[in-house]
Symmetry: C2
Subunit: 263 residues, 2 copies
Amino acid sequence: MSVGERESTHGDRDHVQSLERGIAVLLAFDEEHPEPTLAELSRITGFSRPAVRRFLITLERMGYVRGHDGRWSLTPRVLSIGQHYTASHALIEVSQPHLLRLAEETHESASLATLDGDDAVYVARVPVRRIMSINVSVGTRVPAYATSMGRVLLAWAPTPVVDSVLHRRPLRAITPSTVTDPSALRAELARVREQGWAVVAEELEAGLLSASAPVRDRSGQVVAALASSTSVGRSSRGELQRRVVPLLLETAARITAEFGGRA
Amino acid sequence: MSVGERESTHGDRDHVQSLERGIAVLLAFDEEHPEPTLAELSRITGFSRPAVRRFLITLERMGYVRGHDGRWSLTPRVLSIGQHYTASHALIEVSQPHLLRLAEETHESASLATLDGDDAVYVARVPVRRIMSINVSVGTRVPAYATSMGRVLLAWAPTPVVDSVLHRRPLRAITPSTVTDPSALRAELARVREQGWAVVAEELEAGLLSASAPVRDRSGQVVAALASSTSVGRSSRGELQRRVVPLLLETAARITAEFGGRA
DNA sequence: GTCAGTGTGTACGCACAGCGTACACCTCGA
DNA sequence: TCGAGGTGTACGCTGTGCGTACACACTGAC
């Protein structure tokens, strides 16, 4: 036994190298490397070429990857992995029709997000119009501290979670309006908790407006944030507050009721 | 060397057991087992409990899984795996605004799908209304032979692919209207190829109507199918043909032009 | 109280899975 | 013809990953 301190919960013996490496190979496919060659993947991941080849062949047999004259690419089966997350979280399926209705009523994109680490992650979404410069889809991550959904999720999160998000690293001013001061954010979170909803204007991206309300499980714990997003051209902070927030609260309450009932 | 014939392309030596097993553990989470216990996962997968535990700890370290007093669950990070498919296929990002526009013009859900094995897989989607009994999302698979998207994809697919889809197993009549006779389907595919689009009525689900058109890459190969779906209550085969098909063809052409230009 | 049936963690030793090195080959462009 | 890219695969060693076995905690039945 080495003298080194145990950093993590579990010993190194419980780590399965091949699994981690294999997934790393899968994740090496991205925008910059949509159809990499074997050697390219070897360079990206840092694993030997034979090793990468073994992983690729395994993934190919499982249907996640396809090899075509020296180039490899992901198959749509990769998308089915995410389906298992969706399928195992009843809340998401329950929310879908409510998101559709909200989007129809507001003529704006409706989203549901969950907290994961420092980020709010979109887990369901009905897009109506392109509002952000990036293409938002299910799985997209946005920093919690600078979004209405994140604020809602943090407002009711346990203290250690909030602490870690606000203090682990210095918060970056994504736009000139982004609130980055931890104590100012804490005050804002308190306000959100008190009023029961959040509105954030242009803190993630110029021109972007969004409002959010909490969705709870049967025990009353906040498990997700419902949001409606628009742009300064189409709406304003005041109008969001007047027209959208009530709809959000209603919709969130309906989801909460239905989800609490079935969970 | 055994006398047994080599069935697959690659030898067994090139198979990485731990990767396949680890992913199997990840996939063991589903609707029926949203928060399984370690022992439960061991039973589902058939792997020994210590083995499953090692995989879980590895996955937990990677952020895909979370353990909470004896129960395990998937984290939203699982969704990010699918993002790599989306990111590595420029067509999908290119299509998004066109899908939005199509959905707005038709007031119906717009979808983009790709062929994978026997299925059409939704790779991008703008939902407007719940039309199917199942919740359709990105990653959802539907049998190619019984859907307009699948028909389009098969109409321009290489012969061996068509053969395998139509003849590997007897085609099931999903609804009373489903065409299951291979030669009738071949004739239908020829018709689709000739007219340049497909309309399918109530072959996948009663009351479900959909129209589809091909999207091509710069080499002219059909790489995806664009579709608009509605229900018999809101439209008819004739109306689809008259009003929706022209819009589909226009939109598909626009996507093809933009995608061909940038790829 | 005790027993059976859940569940959990972990120690340990063996086997072979997975590793990288090394070599052979192909294709392209200079 | 050479070098620089790519590919596949043989092979032997290492140590990863395997399952068995044991210890323990909690629950409900009787």
